[in-house]
Every structure is written in C-alpha cells, then in structure tokens.
C-alpha cells in the first residue's frame, strides 16, 4: 500500500521539504531553459495569478454588485461601466469578475476530484496489476475513447444544474486520462528497480518517496493541473453557453455569452466580446503556463524547440 500512501501524500499537500527540493532543482532547470519557454511560463504565471486573485478578491475588483439592476440596460462601455451593462441593467465588468469564481472554481474542483480519483485508482492499478488492473483499464479505456464534450454534456444533463454537479460532470471526463497517466508512471517507476536497490541500501520509505518518486509525479502534476484547468474552464463555459451548468443569476462567463446573443443585432457587441475575452485570457494563462512548465521540466524536449 506504499502507492496509496504515495498518492495521498501528494494530494495531501506539498511538504515544505519537497518544495525546497523541487525549487532548487526547478530553479536550475528554469535558468537553463530557452527564452521562449521562460516567457511562456512567466506570462502564463502572471495571468494565472491575476485570475486567481480575481477568484479570491473578486468583490474587491468589482466596482458594483453584480446582481443589482441599478443601471440603464444595454449601455455601451463607458467610464461608469467599463464593460457596459447587460439587458437587466447590471454592470458587466462586475459580473464577469465574480464570474471568475464560478468558472475557475468549478474547474479547480473538477481537476482536484479527477486527480484524486485518478491517482488513487491509477497507482493502485499500476502497483497491483493483475485482473483488477485489466478490469479498470477496460473501463477507463471505454470512457477515454468517448468524444470528450459529449460525456460532459450527458453527465451535466443527468446531474442537473448546480456547482457541485457541474464540477462532477467535468471531472468524470478527465478521470480516464489522469488514471492512464498515473498508472503508466507508476508502472515505469516500479520497473526501474532502483526502489529495490534503495531499500537494500537501507533507505526509509519516506526518503525514497521524497527524493526519487515524488519529483516524477510533481513535474507532471503541475502541467496536468494547468492543462486540466484550461480544459475545465472551457467546459464550464461551454456548458454555460448551452444553458446547462449553473442556474441564474450566477454570472458565469458562458452563460453571459449566451444571454448576450439576442442583443447582438442591436449592436450590443460588448455582451459577446468581453465574456469571450475572459475565457480566452483564462485559457491563454493556463495553456501558456503548462507549455512553459513542460519545456522547463523536460529538457529532452528542448531539442525540438
């Protein structure tokens, strides 16, 4: 059950020592990376920090209450309302700021859930092998081949509207991918054999985990989380656009986009451009970050860049 503890320990939180270890190694990798990778990483990081601060400090950024209908409806962007107002007279910028919480928050929950389940199942399956492994592989393969969004769509309709339901729907789609990844990682580490040699040398389990196994997982972890957030945000917005997902008056980006559509022909371009822009920024942020991290952590790929 070494592998279960492994999974839990990673999920449980990054220990300070691990962090230090990673950072020192990471710092070396980072400095050695080419300029483009550094740019990707930094820009992505900045955008993500901006977004996350929106999530945490949303109400501070938002000039007005997103649900109060105190303005004239369908006003163009102006100094008073920097992104204009929607058809009910609510400030769009405030709504989109608060909307970050929903889009990113749900995505984060989904990533967390899918990662947890993926790690648990994947490491167990990889370690134990045998029929359990084959059985899980079969199920996961079946889910994996599914056209992604369709599964999310069906689950979203089944589970109904709501924050947890949407998160669950999205996470279910990501589980097979995570499972596969962790499983193959587990198997490859298992096969390397140095675990045994370390044991023979008398190293404690913790020591092995810290110095040899964890780094593998961690470099993949961040990229996975980042990519997962990107895809998750897209899914949340997509569901919102279709009218599934979170019920009103939640100002989720996709929902705002859908609600703005009927007013497009009246010239209310801001109702379409700005919500989409937020999604784009979120996607860019996470994609850039994961790209940059990928390049930095895997120097082997550098040959191709």
């Amino acid at each position: 059950m070494l592998w279960l503890i492994l999974g839990l320990s990673i999920k449980g939180g990054i220990q300070v020592e691990l962090k230090k270890l990673r950072e020192s190694k990471f710092a070396k990798l980072y400095l050695a990376a080419p300029k483009s990778a550094k740019i990707n990483f930094l820009v992505g990081l900045i955008l993500d920090i901006f977004l996350i601060s929106l999530v945490i400090f949303g109400p501070l950024f938002a000039p007005y209450n997103p649900n109060e209908m105190i303005f004239d409806p369908l006003e163009k962007p102006s100094w008073k309302n920097i992104m204009g107002t929607d058809s009910f007279g609510r400030d769009l910028f405030s709504r989109l700021c608060i909307g970050t919480r929903y889009s990113l928050g749900i995505s984060l929950i989904a990533v967390g859930v899918s990662l947890t389940i993926g790690v648990l199942l994947g490491s167990t399956s990889g370690f134990l092998g045998g029929t359990l492994d084959k059985f899980l592989m079969l199920i996961m393969d079946s889910l994996y081949v599914f056209p992604g969004f369709i599964l999310v769509l069906i689950m979203a309709v089944v589970l109904g509207p709501g924050i947890w339901q949407t998160a669950l729907a999205i996470s279910i789609q990501r589980i097979p991918g995570n499972f596969r990844m962790i499983r193959s990682l587990t198997i490859s580490v298992k096969e390397r054999g140095f675990i045994e040699s370390e044991r023979v040398m008398g190293a404690s389990d913790w020591h092995i985990i810290r110095h040899h196994i964890a780094p593998f997982y961690l470099s993949i972890l961040f990229v996975t989380v980042s990519l997962g957030m990107a895809r998750g945000t897209l899914s949340v917005a997509g569901l919102g656009f279709l009218g599934l997902g979170i019920p009103p008056p939640a100002p989720e980006w996709g929902t705002e986009l859908a609600m703005g559509r009927p007013f497009l022909l009246m010239g209310a371009w801001w109702l379409i451009i700005f919500p989409g822009l937020f999604v784009l920024i979120a996607m860019l942020g996470f994609n850039l970050l994961s790209e940059g991290l990928d390049e930095i952590s895997n120097p082997a790929l550098r040959r191709l860049k």
Partner: protein, 335 residues
C-alpha cells in the same frame, strides 16, 4: 505477439468496450429525472393517459428487462424509435449524419491544408520569423473557445460585412438530389456547379471555425515530428551520401513524420464529433450535435442511446484502425 494475433485481439476488444459504454449510458439515462412521455404530450393530458402511453412504450417495465431488450435490439441493429420524431433512430441519424460529417471532414481538411504546410515550413526554417510568429499565433488561436470564435465570425463575416449567409444548411433555391447527403458531394455529382458555389458559402464559416481552432495543433505536431525525424541518424546519413535535400525531406523525413499526424487526425475527428454541438447551434445546421442536445432536453432515451452508440462505434473503430496502422507501419512498436 504476432501481428495478426494483435490485430485480432484489438478487433475483439471492441466488443467489451462498446458494451461498457452502452451499459453506462443506458443506466445513466434511466437515472435521469424527467419523464419523456410527459414532455412530449404536455401537461394537460390526464395521468391515466400518460400511464397508458408509457406502458405502450415499455417504459414501465423493470429496468433490467428494459436493458436486456435494449441489448437484444442493438445486436439486430435496431436502435429503437425516437419518441420525439416518431421515426426510427437510425433513420433520423442517417438524415442528419451527413451534415455533421461534412462539417467535420471539411474542417479537418481545411486545418490540415492550413496547418501542415505551415508546420513544415516552420520546421525547415526553424527559428526564423515565420516560425516565431506562428508559435505566438498558434497559442492564441488554440486557446480560443470554439463557440466564441464562431460567434465572432458570424458577426463580422455574416452580418457586418454581409459576405456569407449567417446560418442554415444550404441554399434552398437549388434542388439537389440527395445521394450522400453531403451538399458538396451531391452538388458535384449533380454537376450543378452554380449550386455548389452557393452551397459552399454556407459551409465556409463552420469550416473556418473548426480549422482555426485545430490548425495550431497540426502545425505544431508536423513541426515537432519533422524536427524529430530530421535529427535522426538516417537523415544525416542520407545527406552525407549526397542525396538532394529535396529528396531527403520528401522521401525520408516526411514519410516517417506522418505517423503522429495520423494519430492526431483520428483524435481530431473524435474531438470534433463532440465539439460540433456549438457550431451546429450557432450556424443552425441540423446535425448530430443538435440532435443529441434536443434528445437530452426531451429525455428521448432511444435517441440519446442511439447517438451515443453510434459515436462509440465510430470512435472505437477509429482507434482500433489507428492502432493497427501503427503496429503495421512501425516495426519498432512492441506489442
């Protein structure tokens, strides 16, 4: 394992995979709240009548019996009758399937045409201005949500500049006999090129939306794959032998770089099957995505299961084919 055993094994594996998907979806459907009969007939019909209809449709039997019936029919190729459209699910799907196929295939083709040459150029002129600009734009394009891109295209190309029709499947002024159901092919077969030109205008924006979002991946993968291959020993050998650069590229490098692109193709196809929902919605194209959405909204069990089954068959089939191609094409792959 010998090749033919491997191929046989992969083909055999299709069955349990399919079974699992179908079972999962079946049970999920029946967990769904919402009574399809009530939705179809509305709220004024008395309960007794609803019960009767439900009985006639077999919806009041215990669930495991319904499941077994469903499987039996599936094996025979009978996907049941749609509650909403009152025709067999297969017929309805056959009707709309070409639309989705047309958008998907056209979009992928366009993204290949745009993306692969770009990727090749980037690989050959690595570090050059094209390469750098492409990389920046790629990331931007690929981060775009497809529905937003579609809306923007619709606004500017369709409305503001009035270049293209904003929605609809095809021009209704031409009566093209339906052979494949795909407007472009049917127009060509009917030798009506005027119609072809008109009808293409309806397809350009959906294709463009797909292409713009998928193109970066193709550019990237072809670039990476080519670079990878270019660094291989046999390329250096060929160059050392004095083979013309062009031959080196075309005959040796590209051939070997193709394989990952094929995987990508299959992956794109699968992704698109799911992703066309937005495009069909925004451009009012009656395709599978919309059918699924309507089916979900109306709790049309048979329709949903039917569409999922079809998708599953396609996807599993495609994956199997790709794996087999890989196994055959690359002797280094261990199986």
């Amino acid at each position: 394992m010998k090749l033919k055993y491997y191929v046989g094994f992969r083909i055999l594996m299709i069955i349990p995979t399919l079974l699992i998907i179908l079972t999962l979806v079946f049970f999920i459907m029946h967990v769904l709240p919402g009574d399809p009969v009530r939705i179809m007939w509305g709220e004024e019909i008395p309960d007794t009548i609803i019960e009767e209809i439900r009985h006639n449709l077999g919806l009041d039997r215990p669930i495991h019996i319904q499941y077994i019936e469903y499987l039996k029919k599936f094996i025979r190729g009978d996907f049941g009758t749609s509650y909403r459209y009152k025709v067999s699910v297969l017929d309805k799907v056959k009707e709309v399937w070409p639309t989705t196929l047309e958008i998907t295939i056209g979009g992928i083709l366009l993204s290949i045409i745009m993306g692969i040459p770009l990727g090749i150029i980037c690989a050959l002129r690595k570090g050059g201005i094209i390469d750098q600009v492409t990389r920046i734009f790629s990331l931007y394009l690929y981060s775009n949500p497809s529905f937003w891109l579609a809306l923007i295209l619709q606004i500017y190309l369709g409305l503001t500049w009035g270049l293209l029709p904003t929605s609809g499947r095809c021009s209704l002024s031409y009566d093209i006999p339906r052979v494949t159901g795909m407007i472009t092919i049917d127009s060509i077969m009917a030798l009506n090129f005027r119609a072809l030109f008109e009808n293409l205008r309806y397809l350009i924006m959906p294709w463009l939306t797909v292409a713009l979002v998928r193109m970066p991946r193709y550019a990237r993968i072809s670039r990476a794959s080519l670079l990878n291959v270019l660094g291989e020993d046999y390329i250096i050998t060929a160059r050392a032998k004095g083979v013309r650069e062009r031959t080196v590229i075309i005959k040796h490098a590209l051939r070997n770089a193709i394989l990952p692109i094929i995987t990508m193709l299959a992956g794109s196809f699968v992704w698109l099957l799911g992703g066309t929902v937005f495009i069909e919605m925004i451009f009012s194209q009656p395709g599978m995505g919309r059918l699924l959405l309507e089916g979900l909204r109306g709790r049309d069990f048979n329709m949903i299961q039917g569409i999922v089954a079809i998708y599953a068959i396609i996807v599993v089939g495609l994956n199997t084919v790709v794996e087999v191609i890989y196994a055959v094409a690359d002797p280094r792959i261990k199986y």
